[in-house]
Symmetry: C2
Subunit: 156 residues, 2 copies
DNA sequence: GTATCCGCTGGACAATCTGATCAGTGACCC
DNA sequence: GGGTCACTGATCAGATTGTCCAGCGGATAC
């Protein structure tokens, strides 16, 4: 759990140049190769680094429209709704939340028109009482973690 | 842009076992190494694959609380607000949206109590009129792309 | 029909990296 | 003092990478 400064530099370096190897990292960081290897192993088995999967851009795949939908669920139908939404490819992520809605999900679609199809797919399920959708226009801050890593490793 | 079936299998393979090399991929996919290399180059320069950065878990970093905040912005202050939010490490992502709110952002915090600090940090800025926050309780569908890749590449 | 382009194959090469292991060193704790 | 731990610097064989190449269809253009 505790991220130290070297861990932080390691993650930052990996984030900037993901394809470099352990040896090159050890050179850049000024530590021995074994150290880098050990740190990396620890970070991944810790769960701090979940993986190195490719980051795929939905837009480039033909799904340029993103939207967030807030869902209200009928009491006791939560599990069914989850299973239903997990089966819809256009649902990229799903959270249960406090507040006005019960769930928040991120959707993508091929066009604004196609979004209608996706929403119908999502809400066309018995347990969902109501859905309110916000279409994303711009994405000034794409999903990021680096500033947080810097903060977590800096002031430790 | 057009993802064919081999591209799809390539991405899926990479997503499942990110650390395998080009040679091993070519063996698994039953194609020549040069082909895999060419496809990968094309996918990354296409922008379909944005990168291979490490996926860091905020929870393991000490930020187990996630929340979504809907912000209402004073007319004409959009750019300032964006810059302000981009400077807050706990803001992992920011979108401008249609609908009731003007922006939607994803926040993390060290605890529910710490979330108050983060929210104060976020809304303590002149251009933000109002904020409404939903705390994430569960995450039944973590951010994913594989089902969409499967659909876009015409099944596996 | 023929020429041309394009992607894929299968092979080759040197250079590099990996995984594994080792002994030595300093810091810290009991 | 003795033990544990993390890091260093080194070794080794084996595997992988980047980069060429010629050949082979299929599709397209003329």
């Amino acid at each position: 759990m505790p991220i130290d400064h070297l861990d932080g530099r390691l993650i930052l370096l990996l984030a900037r140049e993901p394809r470099i190897g352990v040896l090159e990292m050890s050179r850049r960081l000024g530590v021995a190769r074994g150290t880098v290897q050990a740190r990396l192993d620890r970070l991944t088995s810790n769960g701090v680094i979940r993986g190195f999967g490719p980051q795929v851009d939905p837009a480039a795949l033909g799904y340029p429209v993103t939207a967030f939908a807030t869902l209200q669920i009928r009491q006791g139908q939560g599990a069914d709704v989850r299973a239903h939404l997990a089966g819809v490819p256009e649902v990229l992520e799903l959270h249960t939340t406090t507040g006005g809605g019960d769930m928040l999900c991120r959707l993508v679609a091929r066009s604004n028109a196609d979004l209608q199809r996706v929403i119908d797919l999502v809400v066309g399920f018995d347990g969902i009482v109501r859905a309110s959708t916000a279409i994303v226009m711009e994405n000034p801050v794409p999903l990021r973690i680096i500033p947080l890593v810097e903060q977590a490793s800096g002031d430790t």
